[in-house]
Symmetry: C2
Subunit: 337 residues, 2 copies
Amino acid sequence: MPTTRKTRRITIDDVARATGVSRQTVSRAINNKTEIDPETRQRILEAARLMGYRPSRFARGLVRQDVTTLGLVIADVLNPFFPEVTAGVLKAAERREWQVVVYNTGSQRRKELAVVDMIAEQVDVCVAFLLHAEAINRAVDMSMPIVLLDKDGMNPSVPGVRIDFDAGVREGLGHLIDRGHRRIAMLDDEARISAAAPNPRREVYLELASRHGLPVDESWIEPAANSVAGGAAAMERLLEVHPDVTAVFAYNDLIAIGAQRTAVRRGLRVPDDCAFLGCDGLSLSELVEPPLTTLHIDKPRLGELAVEQAAQLVAGAEPHEVPDSVVRPELLLRGST
Amino acid sequence: MPTTRKTRRITIDDVARATGVSRQTVSRAINNKTEIDPETRQRILEAARLMGYRPSRFARGLVRQDVTTLGLVIADVLNPFFPEVTAGVLKAAERREWQVVVYNTGSQRRKELAVVDMIAEQVDVCVAFLLHAEAINRAVDMSMPIVLLDKDGMNPSVPGVRIDFDAGVREGLGHLIDRGHRRIAMLDDEARISAAAPNPRREVYLELASRHGLPVDESWIEPAANSVAGGAAAMERLLEVHPDVTAVFAYNDLIAIGAQRTAVRRGLRVPDDCAFLGCDGLSLSELVEPPLTTLHIDKPRLGELAVEQAAQLVAGAEPHEVPDSVVRPELLLRGST
DNA sequence: ATGAAAGCGCTAACAT
DNA sequence: ATGTTAGCGCTTTCAT
């Protein structure tokens, strides 16, 4: 049972009183200002330490307006895609001495909205992966400076990084088609579907299928939960409907890896019986057997670019003045195709 | 070239002036208080939106002392161990409506110290993975309430979660010895070595080696950078010195996976020619070939326990009054042994 | 080298 | 339903 002592906060005045100096002198001591007697400083610092004094960040922030806090909104820390993006965000933030507050949404509508409300109150600017247009609009409505990770097809008045899936997926699927694949299925992201968010990966898939006259229709698109287990389960369902599938294009690497595992477990040879094409290029994807062919995205760079745009907003630029950045996926040919 | 307009902040007074009401009425409107005419509220809200007004979190925090910010200090977002811990931390923080600020140290002494200085100014309490005793002591010195992730052997006056490697490693190495392995090497973490941090994994390894009369000495311990590539490189070096090694115990799964890849690439059969035992149980480790035998740690729980201890500190408990938590690794037998 | 006064932007408590 | 008065804890500016 934790004791809930309401231990009143120790303030700079307490320290001043205890050391018999004025508040300002204490302030000088703890802020390493020059105009102060070295001995006085020592005495004050010592007393402050003993008393457990810690300056209030709020009081400080109020007067010196120099601390910038960035909100980073991601869907799921457990999907390696986000830690990789986060690495870039942290790096860029560190350079600027910005604080980074992280929020997880699970891509659920309710949580995305709740997180937007939260960040609106707590941060100066934010970089966000948001699937629900409603959540994005809410942020804009609250005058929250926001930069989108994966802005493709989203609210055009909000700056963001565009991942050029169009070119990438065209190249990736072209590769499968060149290899003679016709019965190519897609494992899509069910969260994106249920959020009714723009989905270039799916659109390009359908467009190419039609252009090349592939014998596939929407029944060849199976929604998957965004995880290895989700990909594995989706592949089971797909094989029920289309046991003759020869290649699978997955929404991302996690889903592709799960699907490939199902295939292997079922005794299919990869890539001979069924090939797999992932998307996003997790470092994990070269560790599985066979290593996954994937559309690699430079995720740290994605994060850095977003922070750079955020910096423009902080500097006073209007959202429409901040040009979108673009990241282009790169086809990494490996053993799964 | 971003425009650096110094656009003065819009305050509640600006909104009040623009709408011809008092500051307090604006406050009521934006905080959804009851005692206000619905029409007035609408008018104010509309004006605030148009003006792009956003309440200052500092001013607010100063007066309503109800926002808690937790600093989460990790070594490396790219090591899946930390995202998994982070998942637990975020979950526990969300329940309490705490903000979580993340800092990456790379386990470098300089950065650990810099991060401690930073968090001391910016957060109310922190949960940290710190290798350098100096950094921990600095936090204590600054009266920073802190909880350690992996506190084993660290400053006993600081609360933390203890991972019971002693029992775990005993069981894991016991398993290898039972299988008849004698020439068991260890791939240690070079960052921990250079920080001169306590290392129960290594100690137990040496103790068991001596107790069971294994034909190994310190030359059988090879330091590895904390990554798959690091593990791979360390294994190369190990094989130079001890080509007759039959089992490898790695500091963690990332290193084990890299080492195992080197073995496979060299044509060794795993586990017949060389077995691999990891430590920490990343979800990744069951995706590699062969799946890795490992000492699984419930990392989300580790994070949650730490936050619970942090909550006690926030509630006013003295560090020495907060009992350590313990997480016990569990041996997961898989294909690599 | 130190102190006094002013004020950062907001909300709580008390008027009206 | 709205306005007024006091701070929250700190740093800045200006005295001394």
